[in-house]
Structure formats: C-alpha cells, structure tokens
C-alpha cells in the first residue's frame, strides 16, 4: 500500500479525470466534504469501473487536541470536556473518565449512583444506536428517499430519550451528569414513571424497525454478504463492540469485566454469525432491546441513598490523586472505551489518553471495502458506526 503522502499533486487535482494507464483505475477523493462520510472523513479511493481496488481513510479533520487540553485542566474540569468527545454518546465518555479517576483515588461509589450510571449509560446506548440506525438509512438510501424516512422516525424516537435526559440533567446533549465519586443529579419526581412509559413505547418501535429491516428485500440485498469481517481479522485489527460481536465473538465488558455493578443485572449479549453488514445491524438492534431491559432493571432495583461519595463540585475542593497510573475501560455503544491516566500528584493530570473504539473500528475500512462496489462503501462505513469526534479527539 502506498501512503497518501506519496501521491503527487497531479493525482489529487480534483477537477481532472485521469485514468492511470496500467491499471485503468480512477482516483477519487471522497470527502472530507461529502454527504455521507459521517462527518469529516476523507477516503482516497481507486476505482476500476465501479469496483473498489484500493481505499485509504484519512482522518484528522476534527482533531481538537483533547488529550493535550486535558493536561492543562483540573480533574473536575475534564468531565465536561469528555462530553464533547463522542458527541453521540456523551454519558459513557464521562463515565469512563470518572471511573479512571475513582480507580486512581480508590473512591467507593454509592450503590444508588452506580445504578443511576447504568440507567443513563443504557439510555444513552439506545439513543446512540437510534442515531446509527437513522444514519444507516441515509447511507443506504440518501437524504431524498426511504432512508430519510427511517432517519426521521429514529430521531423522533430518540427525542423521547433526550427529553428524559433534559429532565434529569437540564441538558439535551452535553449532560455533565457523572462526577468523580458518583453522579450529580437526583432523578426528579415521577421520573421512573416516564422512563417506564418510554420503555414500552420504544420497545414496540424497535421491534417494528427490526421486523421492517429483516423482511425488507432491498435492505437485505444491500447488507447481506457485504463487508464480511472474518473474526481473525477483527481481532488482529482491534475491532470491538457490535462490530466484533457481529462476527460471532461474545465479548462485552459489561459481562467480561463488570463495572458499575453490571454483575447485578440480567441481560443477553447478542452476536451475529457471518460478520456482514446485516449481522452488525441486527446486533445493534437487539442490543437496543437488551438495553431497555437493563434500564427497567436499574429502575426496579434503584436503592435509596446518597448519589455521590464526594461533596458537590460547587464546594471548592481540589482533586489531587496520588502519583501513579491507571487504565479504566467501559463498553460504550461503539465498543471498548478506555482511559489511561497518569498522575504526578498535582491537581492536573500528567497525561490522559483516550482509547477510542471508533478509531480501531475505522481501521477495518480498507480491509472490508476492497473488491466491493462503490455504493457498498457507504453501507460498510455506516455499519462500523464511527463518530469522528471520537476518532480524531
């Protein structure tokens, strides 16, 4: 594989259609401004007719320097920063960071706080997968057609969850709900009732989408046997989350390495068989239903008591962990989200490293698309569900 840097300026000239003599290939720069690259991905493509012979994703267009920024902020100030990383699922980012700091400082989290964390992360998982399902519709069908219908339906459903989050935290997107030592807000009166109503409604809606997708001939021909990910390749590239589970590997940190008292809950880990786009889609849809079950259980078992083992943040009190390093990881909607934290004993972290699942999943793209048609690139990219805020950080 040649790297992007070795391509000459002439090859990148966007207005000229040049055909390489020996291979009859057409070089296309797809993105970073392109309707369905999920934000700002650039793919350098070589096409032979409609067939993809070479693909190279180029990232970095959304790099905001989070890791460097974090070195100049106090531990408490980093929590809202974490929200802005994977903006489709902010709560899980906060959670991973808070877990890391708690592990470093050996803070016990109250049971109620842990349950609230499970509740919010599972709600977030459903919301995030709904965004994925909607945008997958756009990837397959474009913004003017059946795809956009699916997109708007999914956003209508997601709206219910956002309303619940607004009620709980006051924000619809950047919640700042977790804090070091617990969570920040008590659920308001009648919250449980409304969450249960939401679960009933969404369970029905998701079953409907599942049925539509599994019986729709057009959806089937577009996703079955497309982008088949062999398990070995998935493991060696570092794929995770629904992408790896779609290939039939039952690996989920909520089961394999429970955090936040996930061991108290009963739920299934769905897996696929073949590892094609259809399996990945199916895994995500079943995961939404399992997450709704988890939300229900968290509500049922929600104990009374304090929600944080540390006083509220508005009391000025510096967080100063001891010297040391720690790695905490959780199962975010996209896979294993890890936080590596090095403390030198001061009020600011010495180094903070995010291990983002979107990044390692995106690395699969060149392996999966070669040999497929041009239209399949979008089907495959969509099924990997990358969020570029998290890929570039």
């Amino acid at each position: 594989m040649t790297s992007t840097m070795s391509l000459t300026a002439e090859e990148f000239h966007p207005l000229q259609t040049q055909v390489e003599q020996e291979g009859n290939t057409l070089l296309i720069n797809m993105g970073p401004q392109h309707p369905s690259t999920h934000g700002v991905l650039r793919i350098v493509l070589k096409l032979k007719g409609e067939e993809v012979v070479y693909a190279e994703p180029v990232i970095g267009y959304l790099h905001r320097g989070f890791e460097k920024l974090a070195e100049n902020l106090t531990y408490i100030q980093i929590v809202p920063l974490a929200d802005r990383m994977d903006y489709i699922s902010p709560v899980t980012n906060e959670l991973a960071y808070c877990l890391a700091v708690e592990k470093l400082m050996k803070i016990e989290v109250p049971k109620r706080a842990a349950y609230l964390r499970v509740l919010t992360s599972e709600l977030q998982r459903v919301a995030s997968h709904l965004v994925w399902l909607g945008t997958y519709g756009l990837d397959l069908g474009g913004a003017l057609g059946g795809g956009s219908t699916l997109f708007l339906y999914c956003f209508r459903e997601r709206e219910i969850i956002l309303d619940l989050f607004e009620e709980l935290t006051g924000a619809r997107m950047m919640y700042n709900f977790n804090q070091i030592g617990g969570v920040r807000y008590q659920p308001p009166d009648g919250f449980a009732l409304r969450v249960r109503g939401m679960i009933r409604k969404l369970d029905q809606a998701i079953s409907e989408y599942q049925q539509i997708l599994e019986e729709n001939y057009v959806f089937q021909v577009r996703t079955r046997n497309i982008g088949v990910l062999p398990l070995e390749l998935g493991k060696s590239v570092g794929a995770e989350g629904p992408v790896l589970r779609g290939s039939g590997f039952r690996y989920d940190l909520r089961k394999n390495e429970p955090y936040c008292r996930y061991e108290d809950f009963q739920f299934e880990i769905p897996t696929g068989e073949k590892g094609d786009c259809f399996d990945r889609a199916k895994v995500r849809i079943i995961e939404m239903k399992e997450s709704l079950k988890l939300v229900w259980q968290a509500l049922e078992g929600l104990p009374e008591g304090a929600i944080s083992s540390r006083p509220a943040v508005r009391v000025a009190q510096a967080v100063k962990p001891v010297e040391g390093e720690v790695y905490a990881r959780i199962e975010s909607p996209r896979g294993e989200l890890g936080v590596f934290l090095v403390s030198d004993g001061s009020a600011k972290p010495f180094r903070l490293k995010w291990r983002a699942p979107s990044f390692s999943n995106l690395a699969l793209l060149p392996h999966l698309v070669v040999g497929h048609k041009l239209a399949d690139i979008m089907a495959i990219l969509g099924s990997l569900d990358p969020v570029f805020g998290e890929v570039d950080r």
Partner: protein, 316 residues
C-alpha cells in the same frame, strides 16, 4: 393553425405549472409520511406559494460554469434533457378529441422521444468533467439501456391487445375492461411497465444516477440556479409523463363511470403519481449491478412471456 398553437401553449403552460405544484405535493406527501408537516411558511398555512418562492430563488442564483467544464455541452445539456420530457405530452390524449397530435404511432413516439433524455444526461455528466458526474453518467447509460427493453416490451402488450399504436384507439378499446384487469396478463404487464418506468426516470429504488449517498448528486453535481431547475423540472415532467402513460395504456385513460372524463384521467394520474412517491419515500437504493441483474434476469424474461401471452390472447 392558430387554434392548435393556442392549444399547445395551454398544454405547455399547464404542464409546467402542474409540475411546479407537483413538487409541493411531493413535499407535503413526504412530510406526512415522515411525521412532519412539510412546507407551510410561504403561503400560510399549506405552503401554496412555495413553488413560486423556489423558482424565484433559483432564478436569482449565480450561474456557475466550472472552469474545466466543456462549456457548450455543459450549457446545452439541461435543454436536451428537458425537451424530450415535454415532447411526450404532445401525443397524450387528455380527453375525447382533446389531443394535440393524434399520431398513428403514438406509443412508438413516446418510447422514442423519452429515451432521448439519456443523451442530455450523458452530456451533462461528460460536460461537467467531474469524477462523480462521469461515474453517474456511466451508470445512467447502463441502467437506461437495460430497462428500455422491458419497457418497450411491456408497452407493446396494450398495443397488441388493442391492435393499434394510436393512443386514442387504445383508450377507446378499454371502454369496457381496462387492460390492467385482464387476468394475469394485464397485471404482469402493468408491473413490468411500472418497474421499468421507475428505472427509466431514475426514481427510487433505482435512482443510482444521482445517488446522493455516494455520488453526491451525480450528473447534476456541478449545476446550480436555473440550469439545475431544468433538471428538476425534467424529473417531475418524467414522473407526470409516466403517470399519464400508465393511466392511458393500462388504466383506461379518461374512461370511467359517472364522473366526467377529465376528472377520471386526473384521478388516475394523481393515483399513479402518489404511488411513485410512496415507493420513493419508503425504499432504500439498490446497487447498480443488482439493478442490471434484475432487469436482464427477471424483468426481461417476464416481459417476453407476457408478450407471448398477449399474442395468444389476441389470436384466441
């Protein structure tokens, strides 16, 4: 002479205004389908001024011609695309004796003229000198040539049954039973016609030529302002044309009980138009190779069988 000029002017203006308002209909329809309201601000409360606002906006936009584009081809393409789409309406009977030119070879004329649009699309694709539009042009040629065959074959079924290529003859032949109600034969022919007509006019699920999710906007990617509006008009004129042709060839034209003929034809056309929209807003796109395979492996054999059946029916 004068009267036919006036009539043709009326038809042209009518078609263009109808097409403008059909865009509003589509947006309203799609809005309802997606649990939205659709346009309503321009022309409160149902958005009846929206098409005019759109036109004014498109007229006022800057006319951009890319530096590397082949200027003549680039500028000519929108006209070459639009004209055939409008020419189809010349031979369509809007009622008894309400026809601009009742050609003896009406069906042939429609088929011949409507396939000319392909030339314009390819000119637009080639003239833009954009990689996406070139890919889209290749797709358009592939797709349209493949679907021409089943389209022509399925259009021949009413011709064989009625024994004439004259559209008014075909309509009068269906006075008692519409062709779509002929057992098996009629439905199959109608289905083949509908699918290949959708593909011919690049509608969902066959709209791979403008495939927004991979080719951005396909052959129209470099067009803006009024030139873009020409492509847009063509698309809707095509849809309207298909609805008319379907209504005339298979649904008995202006014929029907109780209501006056004009109302019947309008109802049938509206039904067909909404049916096309319904398909568009519920399905996702199919891939090029799948579309071609479907045409040659499924539609083509079926249309041959249907043609044979029609011949047997006629002889028997």
């Amino acid at each position: 002479m004068i009267s036919s000029l006036i009539f043709s002017a009326i038809v042209l203006a009518g078609i263009l205004v109808a097409v403008m308002y059909l865009t509003l209909l589509e947006r309203k329809f799609a809005g309802r389908l997606q649990s939205r309201i659709g346009p309503q601000r321009a022309g409160w409360p149902i958005g009846y001024l929206q098409p005019i606002a759109d036109t004014v906006k498109l007229l006022m936009k800057e006319d951009v011609v890319p530096q590397v584009a082949d200027e003549k081809t680039f500028n000519l393409a929108p006209i070459v695309v639009l004209l055939p789409a409008l020419l189809v309406f010349v031979v369509i009977p809007y009622g008894d004796n309400l026809i601009l030119a009742d050609l003896n070879i009406g069906v042939l004329f429609i088929l011949a003229v409507s396939s000319l649009s392909l030339l314009g699309i390819f000119m637009a694709a080639w003239g833009s000198k954009n990689k996406y539009s070139v890919l889209s042009g290749m797709r358009a040629v592939n797709q349209m040539i493949s679907y021409e065959v089943p389209l022509v074959l399925s259009c021949l079924v009413p011709v064989i049954l009625a024994g004439s290529m004259k559209l008014s003859d075909i309509v009068t032949f269906q006075e008692k039973v519409w062709f779509v109600f002929y057992p098996v034969l009629g439905q199959l022919a109608f289905l083949v016609f509908l699918i290949s007509a959708l593909a011919e006019s690049n509608r969902m699920p066959f709209d791979i030529t403008e495939a927004e999710s991979e080719l951005v906007a396909g052959f129209m990617v470099e067009y803006s302002g009024m030139k873009f509006a020409f492509f847009f008009l063509t698309e809707y004129a095509h849809m309207l044309g298909i609805s008319f042709i379907a209504a005339i060839l298979f649904l008995g034209g202006w014929g029907g009980p109780l209501l006056p003929p004009g109302v019947w034809l309008a109802l049938k056309v509206l039904f067909m138009f909404l049916f096309i929209l319904w398909i568009r807003w519920s399905l996702v796109r199919v891939r090029l190779d799948q579309i071609l395979a479907f045409s040659w492996k499924v539609l083509f054999p079926i249309s041959l069988v249907v043609l044979l059946l029609a011949g047997i029916w006629k002889v028997w």
